[in-house]
Symmetry: C2
Subunit: 474 residues, 2 copies
């Protein structure tokens, strides 16, 4: 395809995207297709001859769109908000058009240096001190794996350069809670610690926050049992009920016993753009690594996970490679981001953050986050004052966990009822929300914060919820 | 930013990209900036108020473009080709515009099912049998790490679900060669094996291909020494000199001793689109995993690394998570790609491959690859017949490794000369190539295959090379 052919097709694509975004609220929120339905619409063999852009756009309309759960839809209240702001989309388009590869500073100095600058802007915007240096990973899952690799190598004296984790005489141990994101367990397992050496520390029954006294007791027990306590992953805004582990108290313990402290603030890191929320991670400066995803609530399109460390030297020592074909004369003076994560080649991800911050501006972003917090408080108060309805977890940010419990509904009957009324809403396509299971009991999560979701949409959702719950009882 | 504002800005962005690509050959190939130069042009604090798209486009022109080593430039002969075909860029733009999240099948059925289909198309196009199932990772580095995790868990009987790698009584061992990509060592270290348990098997002095008899001898020695041979990573087209490890002979050994065999065909997998090249990975069907990057020579924009396995059940067992907030009623009937790799959230990467294959068509892609092979043969023959010039490695694909060795130049003097004439070309901005060090001796790599590179460009390069080498002697 020549640049001129691209120009024509590109204009059509832009119009297609603008129309799609403008009319997104006309579509069902959850994809209404059955498993295999999309696949069955596609040829089993690759094409041989070129097709036209019109044909592709037609397929986007007819095959792709019905197969998307519309997370940009104002009636989407599932998982966490995953905003792809159009300002950041423009930056992503620039990145695609440039087609750069970040395998070394030399391969694209702008990719490296703009990433340094925007990571520092985000540090300032979230009130972190100058001791933090950041990079962009694909997701908080990868960032958490990286953090646990850093912890493993710190505790093992760089065993990877010798006999590996398998040469350790004492088993290394990782601590988190049951409330932590699934990626924490996955990271601990992939890093080789083994499930038996992953401790799920007790949490408070109401807030579901880690109990520091239990953490301390487990560490001491492990030391007595000849294990080597290695790392704590603290959740700052968990996925289930937005629980906040008490960072300051945990950090005191990790400093005392010299454990690595990783802060998984995947969602709630976004809230730290608001000074009034920063008390939620009090003590964060004493951690060793932090990650959070602007690609959630803040709205810098996926994949954009920030990963900050205080000691880049250690990070580089664990993650670095320096093959001859990537060497250049300036290697000693520059940052090589390939040594800050797992992949060698990297997209120009900084552009989407750069465009987002400059085209929308932090002030507008903060206002939107405050709007959502306000909507969540309003919604929670409506639920709380309605008979048979409960708000079942503290509403600290924009996610409200609720349950409808008519007289006599308990245990399995209650679970069945909850899943039924949520599923009826999701199936209708009018709104979408994702249930979650806490202590064997299902609840409905209403996660407010799509860029275009206003109070009107939240009101509409509350009406839908009430009628669905009542209908389901019939 | 509203859809209408996006429409206007998007059209400007498309024109900017089309102009950039149309005029790329007017720019210096290698970025001409000094370390810190880009960073110093940017504000140290984030903006507060919104800026305009015109301002951003101006900065793309004035700050970003000079900071890019133009890998899409027809005079780029560095590293490996990293084509970002405009057909695939359109698919990438569609992905950005849609703003989907692939955290489960339910979150975007189209993302999952189109990925299944295009991975199967690529399987067919490279002549792999139906026993392979594929997914898209960001890079071959991540795919290699995943492969070694699969090997580790197979050999250790799923130690991650028990005491971890640290509980193993015999150290697990990985085999590769010195010629393997740096990401293989990195993957072995991150997976916890430890450098001491990574064996660099001897290679043939001319082809730099792994010597199967040495592999076998080392495995037997390790067994005798009470180690547990676990995995072999074979390079199919190495980065330095495009060495091809003999897959069939290696596979015989890995089956005999029950080791995992991973095929790292990051670059040369692209050549398998050509039936006449497939003998280069003869025996590949007996491997356990394969990865290669369409984002290299084939030209599906980065990041697009294919990862194929024969036993997805094992893959899922090692990589899976199943938290309650991601469960849906169809979980048993669908593919959950989050369990096929490290990150949870995934972009709609299949679109760029889908667009590329449909808009350009495989026939045109194959023709281009054949053009490049032909150019490489022509270039190598020109070099070979010139006095003082040598082709220093077999030219199997499109990368030609050369050296200029005038009378009396050896050892350090020769190294200095090689680096000097290559650097003079790179500094000039007229062309770019990356040297590589083999057995302590530098050589110049000319990696042919940018989408717009024709015979004329290769001729121009050969003129530049000759005059630079002569100039440097003065």
């Amino acid at each position: 395809m020549t640049p001129e052919e691209f120009r024509d097709a590109g204009h059509q694509m832009i119009d297609w995207i603008a129309d799609y975004r403008a009319n997104i609220d006309q579509m069902p929120v959850r994809a209404q297709v059955r498993p295999g339905e999309i696949k069955n619409k596609l040829p089993t063999s690759p094409p041989e001859t070129p097709e036209t852009i019109d044909r592709l756009l037609q397929d986007l309309d007819q095959i792709v769109l019905p197969g998307i759960t519309q997370v940009q839809h104002p009636m989407h209240f599932g998982w966490f908000p995953s905003n792809a702001s159009l300002a950041s989309v423009l930056g992503d388009i620039a990145s695609s058009g440039l087609g750069t590869i970040g395998i070394s500073w030399e391969s694209c100095p702008a990719l490296t240096e703009i990433e340094q600058v925007v990571c520092d802007w985000m540090r300032q915007l979230t009130g972190l001190s100058e001791q933090w240096e950041g990079t962009i990973h694909d997701t908080a899952s990868t960032a958490c794996l990286t953090a646990l690799l850093l912890a493993r190598e710190q505790a093992s004296g760089y065993s990877q350069n010798a006999g590996g984790l398998q040469s350790m005489s004492k088993p290394l141990v990782v601590y988190t809670t049951e409330e932590a994101h699934s990626s924490v367990t996955k990271a601990a397992l992939l890093a080789g610690f083994g499930k038996r050496n992953l401790r799920l520390v007790n949490h408070d029954i109401t807030t579901r926050a880690m109990l520091p006294e239990d953490l301390k007791a487990r560490i001491e027990q492990d030391i007595a049992d000849d294990f080597q306590p290695t790392a704590v992953v603290a959740s700052v805004g968990s996925t289930g009920v937005t629980a906040f582990d008490p960072v300051a108290q945990i950090a005191e313990i990790t400093s005392q016993y010299k454990l690595w402290l990783h802060i998984d603030a995947a969602m709630a890191g976004n809230a730290m753009l608001l000074p009034e929320c920063r008390h939620l991670w009090d003590g964060v400066e004493a951690a060793d690594s932090i990650s959070w995803n602007p690609h959630k609530w803040m709205g810098t399109i996926l994949d954009c996970a920030l990963f900050y460390v205080k000691d880049p030297e250690h990070l580089i020592r664990v993650m670095s490679t320096n093959p001859s074909y990537l060497r250049s004369s300036v290697d000693q003076q520059v940052t090589q981001y390939r040594d800050w994560g797992i992949p060698l080649g990297r997209r120009f991800r900084a552009l989407k953050l750069w465009f987002h911050l400059r085209l929308d501006g932090p002030e507008a972003i903060r206002n939107r986050l405050r709007r959502d917090l306000d909507n969540a408080r309003w919604f929670a108060s409506e639920v709380a004052k309605s008979p048979d309805w409960q708000v079942v977890a503290p509403v600290t940010l924009q996610t409200v966990c609720i349950r409808h419990q008519p007289d006599g509904f308990q245990g399995e009957a209650l679970n069945k009822h909850t899943l039924a009324w949520v599923d009826a809403i999701n199936q209708s396509g009018e709104a979408f929300m994702s249930p979650a299971k806490i202590d064997d009991c299902w609840l409905a999560r209403v996660s407010i914060g799509v860029e275009t979701s206003t109070r009107e949409h939240v009101k509409k959702l509350w009406d839908l919820i009430q009628s669905s719950a009542v209908q389901t009882l019939k």
